[in-house]
Structures are given as C-alpha cells and as structure tokens.
C-alpha cells in the first residue's frame, strides 16, 4: 500500500533500465519499497546491473520480466506477470521511451513512426493495462515520464515532442478517469536530462540529471502532485514559452 507520505511498498518499472526510473527507485527503496519488478527488453547485463543496484539500495526482492515496448503483444503478459509476482502493485513507473534524431526521422519516416509507437502507442497500451489492474485493486499510483518537449513544437525534435505531447495528454486524461477508483496518475515533465539517451547532444538550458529528476519524482509522491516539472523552474519557464509569438519561439528554440 502507498502510505500517507507517498511511499509505495511495491513497484513495477516499465522500461526497467531507465536511468531516471532507477534514480527514483533508489530513493523509494531506501524508504518502504521492498519489492520491485523491472520490465526490460531482455535480462541482459544492463537489466541485471539495474536489479543489483536496487538490491544494494535495500530491496529484498527484485525480479526482471521481459517486455518490449515496441511489441504490443508483450504488454499484457509483462504487466500480468508483475502483478502476479508482487500481489498489489502500489507504484508503476512508465519510463520507456526513445529520442531518435529528427535527421534520422526525416530520412526514414518508418523509423519516425516506430519511435512514436514506442513513446505514445505503447504507453497507451501499458497505461490502460495498468489502469485496469489499479481499478481492480482499488488503489495505485502511475508515474509517467513525459517531457517538456511536448509543451511546444520545435523544428529539431517535433516527432519526439509530438509523441510526448500525446503521452502527456493521455496520462492527464487517465488520471482524471481514475479519480473514482482510488488510483492516480502523476505526470513528470523533465527538461534536458544527461543520460545515455542524450549523450553527445548539446545540453539545453536548465539541464538536469537522473538523480535530480528522481528526487523530484519522490517529492511529487510526497506532495501528491498531479504534474511534476524537473527542475521545478521549468514550470514557469514554459508558462512563458508557451505564449511567446511563434516567430520568436522559432528563433530561440532553434539550436
């Protein structure tokens, strides 16, 4: 069960090798989260290292289940397996996603559609699957890693941005839909995070780290937030950015 200060006792991470998710899990495991399931593409070295990391942070049980976001048929079995292993699942972290590059997408539209499938379509499938389980158990928190890229379109990453925009709206709607079911959804909007996914890219202003985003997620669980920005200043930055005239936004967002 989630307690009054937002600490879960069991968690499922969809995209179990996500650096942001693991940073959040480190902190949650140090509190009450004893048992974790990491849903990963395979149980290779990255997944094993992730599991080991949570065990050394204090988790008594960490299991890996195979799950491929790009293969919709794996979603239901993976989620079912996690609920079977954990019993009640207090927290689900939806943390998979691909960034890609706009240049690559321009050259290969099918690759662009595949990235959108992972970031958006797969999240819809997983989100609804988890929501049904939450309805049944009468409680649960779904944390969805969105992105500030979904806040306003940018010429150099609009495929990624539009997929995150879809994910963001889907997640907010799901949160509203779950109000009478005792479950809830928290949307996390990080800015530029220094991870494997962004390695080699030029950092945007207000860039942050997985550890900082993880801490913001845990803080959001404490406060019961619906939306978490990481860093928190981005809430105000984007309040302004969203309303800039398009010409000006185009110029300042060009990199």
């Amino acid at each position: 069960m989630n307690d009054a200060v937002g600490s879960p006792q069991t968690a499922l991470v969809l995209g179990g090798t996500s650096e942001i998710a693991l940073a959040a899990m480190d902190l949650l495991v140090a509190r009450r989260c004893e048992r974790v399931v990491l849903a990963c593409r395979d149980s290779g070295p990255t997944a094993v290292t992730a599991a080991q990391r949570l065990r050394s942070a204090g988790a008594t049980q960490v299991d890996i289940v195979t799950f491929d976001a790009s293969d919709l048929t794996t979603h239901r079995p993976a989620v079912a397996k996690a609920f079977e292993l954990l019993g009640d699942v207090d927290l689900v972290l939806l943390a998979f996603g691909v960034l890609g590059s706009q240049a690559e997408f321009d050259a290969d539209p099918i690759a662009a559609a595949a990235a959108v499938n992972v970031n958006y379509t797969a999240s819809v499938s997983c989100g609804l699957e988890v929501a049904n389980r939450f309805r049944h158990q009468g409680h649960g928190t779904l944390v969805v890693i969105s992105s500030v890229a979904g806040e306003r379109a940018r010429a150099d990453n609009y495929v990624y941005g539009s997929s995150k925009a879809g994910l963001d709206v889907f997640s907010q709607g799901l949160g509203d839909a779950l109000v009478g079911d005792g479950a809830r959804v928290m949307v996390v909007r990080p800015g530029f995070v220094h991870t494997r996914m962004t390695a080699g890219l030029k950092a945007a202003p207000f860039s942050t780290t997985p550890d900082e985003v993880g801490a913001r997620i845990v803080r959001g669980l404490e406060t019961g937030a619906d939306i978490v920005w990481a860093p928190s200043v981005l809430r105000w930055v984007f309040l302004v950015m969203r309303h800039l005239p398009r010409l000006i936004w185009r110029r300042i967002s060009a990199r």
């Binding site: 307690d3 009054a4 309805r135 009468g138």
Partner: protein, 456 residues
C-alpha cells in the same frame, strides 16, 4: 440474500490520506447487518464506522467495506448502568441519551463522532486513562460476526483470548454487531476544571506526575512550534464532574443539560499552504496567551472540556487536499528523556503542527494490540506533504521502540511494517487467535495490508 445497496466509493480516514476505493455495503436493518459478511470477494472485508481513524484502518482497497452507521440500537439498564449499543452508534448519540439520565460514557476521545464499534476496534482512551483504563475495560460483552456467518457472544470470561484480540484488534477479528458496556453515573453535566499554564515541557511533566492522581480527567496541550527556553510550553487542564452543590441556582434547574452545538463548518476548499509555520506559530501563540496562568474550579460543559474541535465541522479540511497525519506514541514513565528528545527534534524540525496532546497513561490491559501502556503519550497532527516527513518519523519510531514504546495503530498511516512486532511483541499471539475465527483470511484492511498485520 444480501440486498443492501453496494456502491464503489473512494474512502480515506480523518487525515484524508491515503485514499482507496472499495465496494461499500450499507446494511440498513439489523438482519442485513448480521449477514453483512456473506459473499465476500477475494479482497476481503472490513467494518467502518464514522471514519475517524486518521489513517487507513477502515478502508479496504478493491474489497468490501461494511458501513455500520445505519443500524441504530441502544438499550439502557438504568439501575446497573449497563448499555447495549449497536456498533454504528456514535458517542454523540449515546451522550444525548445518557447524559440527561445521569450517565456518561466510560471513556471519550477528543471527538464524540466515533462509534461503539470503532471504540472497541481501536480500544480508545481518553483523559481518564490513568483512572479507568481504556474503552474495552468497560466492555462486558461483544457480539462478533465472523466470516463463517456465525455471531459469537464474546466476554472477557467466556473467551478471553478472542475478547482481548478484538480489543484494539482494528476490526480484524470480525464485524462487531453490538456491545454491552458499563456507563458511570454523573450528578451534573458540568466539569470542575483546573487550568495550569507551564512555560516548558519539564514544568508540565512535573505537574502531571505530582497531581494527576487527584483528578479524574487530565490532559496537556503542548506548543511544538516554540523552541529554546519555551520549548514544550503547555496548558494543562484537569477536572472531574461537578457535584450538584457546586452549581449555581440557574445551573441547578437543568443539572444534566446536554446540548452541544456545531458552531461553524470548515470551508469545503482550503488553499494549499494555509497552515504554514507562520500561521501555526501565530495560532499557537494566541492559544497559549489566552489560557490563564492558573485557574481552579472553573465549570465547563462536556463539549468544551472533552470535544472542543467538534465545534468546527470538518476541521480536517483545513489541511487542504494533501491531508495530514497524526503521529501518536507512548513510552514508559522512565523513558521521559526519550519524550524530551522527541519533542526537541520535532520542535527543531519546524514540524508545522498545531498543538500536540500530552497525557500520562495508567497501566495497559490484556489486548495484544491495545495501544495504551503506563507512561507518556504524545499525539500531534502534521501536514502530510512536508519534505522528508517519512524518514523523520521513521527515525523517531526507532527511538520510541528502543525505549519500549509503541505507535497507535488507529492513528497510523505510515509506520514501517517491521516495527510492528517490535512495538507489539504479542503480535503473533494475536495472529493465532485471529486465524481461528478467520482461517479464510476474509477480514482485512489497507492498514492490515500495509503493516502486514495478518501475515508476516
């Protein structure tokens, strides 16, 4: 068979957090109530009264919750003072019947809006614990519905193990249908109250050790926002029911009058952060200043003395939608240093807490999960969203357990499960008794799941 309405509802305790959804049954007649454990699904069932437990004791995510409050039955034997009341009867309803007839409830907490069933399930205590113990010590018998559908009549003599497992058993030994308990006589409905203001924690503790035994009722309110030399400054109020000859002529016309009023309601919505260190500090300052330095034999009504917060309907809403929690512990008398250390840490952490309540308990009873034990108990309300509150309270829990103390489960919404057997060393004995009446593990609650009460 069970035709009473069932509705999916999101439930929480008085602290408004954590929340979960359950199918709520509302049995409307005694017959329906007595069948309320029929056809329970795999996620089990728990009874719920007025939802005044602060945490998740009376909710059952994804399962069934039996609302006890629609069935009202009260029988009074005026000669013996024995009262039989259905589980959903509130202390407010009881007092409105009993006080005009010259009787009082054996024990009352800080609110009248708790039920007889809840009073047993939490084995509630009040300002008279040092004199009479907790609620279940006044209980003569309980009719308990168990998952087999049987209704057992349980008394301390017929089945002491089950009786005391039910006392403070958080509703997990069965659905309490009704109970018979002893209600003491009173001559008037007014209390003769002595008030003493002390400038620090040591002052109030010394006063309680010195003279609590001279009073039937005693409790102190502590200001946790004051630090330094005035850390733990307190207002100690102690009293007893007044006798007829202490009333003036007008009061003597209606010596047993009881007509408490709800004065105001908290607004339905409160901006987040209304309670912040500044506003709470200011409130506590006012409250401390308004108390007399010392006053004796002031006559106060039952409502004013026992249930001041009941005058504000829905006061729990002032903490905003994030809610709050109450943390209450007891440590043995000789662990007064632990009490001081904890008060010091809470004060310096700037825990935005309204007044905390300090009381010196008398000896505990035979209930393996009953909370009260001889020593100091402190209770305080804290907004749930404070950064790092969980880890802070976890550290304090360890100090409490280390001193031989425990946390009150009826208030809890965040204790670490591994602390429960340390604080309640007879937990396994309680589990064995419980399993005998509920081998199918039908009775459960969010509290039971979170704290692993039923299975380790």
């Amino acid at each position: 068979m069970s035709l009473e309405p069932v509705a999916r509802a999101v439930l929480s305790g008085w602290g408004r957090v954590p929340r979960s959804a359950a199918d709520v049954r509302h049995p409307a007649t005694m017959g329906e109530f007595e069948r309320s454990l029929n056809t329970i699904g795999p996620r089990g069932a728990i009874a719920r009264g007025l939802g005044r437990s602060y945490g998740d004791a009376a909710q059952n995510a994804g399962g069934t919750v039996v609302d006890t409050t629609a069935v009202a039955r009260v029988e009074i034997d005026d000669r013996s003072g024995l009262v039989t009341a259905s589980a959903g009867t509130s202390l407010d309803e009881l007092l409105r019947i009993l006080v005009p007839r010259g009787r009082f409830v054996p024990v009352t907490p800080g609110t009248r809006y708790v039920t007889v069933g809840g009073a047993i399930a939490a084995d509630i205590h009040g300002k008279n614990h040092h004199r009479v113990g907790s609620w279940c010590q006044a209980v003569r018998s309980i009719r308990l519905l168990i998952p087999s559908g049987e209704i057992l009549t349980v008394t301390p003599e017929s089945d002491p193990a089950l009786f005391w497992a039910t006392a403070g058993g958080m509703g997990l030994t069965g659905v309490i249908i009704d109970a018979t308990f002893n209600c003491p006589p009173i001559e008037t409905s007014l209390l003769s109250v002595d008030t003493l203001r002390t400038n620090d924690l040591d002052g109030v503790m010394a006063a309680m050790v010195e003279a609590d035994h001279l009073y039937d009722y005693s409790v102190a309110w502590i200001d946790l926002m004051s630090t330094g030399g005035s850390m733990g400054r307190s207002v100690l109020t102690r009293g007893r029911f007044a006798q007829l000859d202490e009333l003036d002529a007008a009061q003597r016309l209606r010596p047993l009058a009881f007509d408490p009023k709800v004065r105001v309601g908290a607004p339905p919505w409160v901006p987040a952060g209304l309670l912040n260190p500044l506003s709470v500090r200011a409130f506590n300052e006012l409250w401390f200043r308004k108390a007399p330095a010392e006053r004796t034999a002031e006559l106060q009504s039952i409502g004013a003395f026992f249930h001041p917060l009941d005058m504000v309907r829905g006061w729990n809403r002032i903490y905003g939608k994030r809610g709050f929690l109450q943390w209450q512990f007891v440590v043995p008398d000789d662990a007064d240093d632990t009490l001081r250390s904890i008060v010091g840490q809470l004060s310096s952490a700037g825990c935005t807490s309204f007044l905390a309540v300090l009381k010196r308990f008398g000896p505990g009873n035979d209930g393996p999960l009953s909370f009260p034990a001889a020593g100091w108990t402190l209770a305080l309300d804290i907004p749930a969203g404070i950064a790092g509150l969980g880890p802070l309270l976890d550290r304090l829990d360890v100090e409490v357990a280390g001193a031989g103390g425990r946390i009150y489960l009826a208030k809890d919404s965040r204790l670490a499960p591994h602390m429960v057997p340390e604080m309640y060393p007879r937990l396994d004995e309680w589990r064995r008794t419980r399993d005998q009446v509920d081998p199918s593990r039908t009775l459960t609650s969010d509290l039971a799941r979170r704290l692993k009460l039923i299975d380790a």
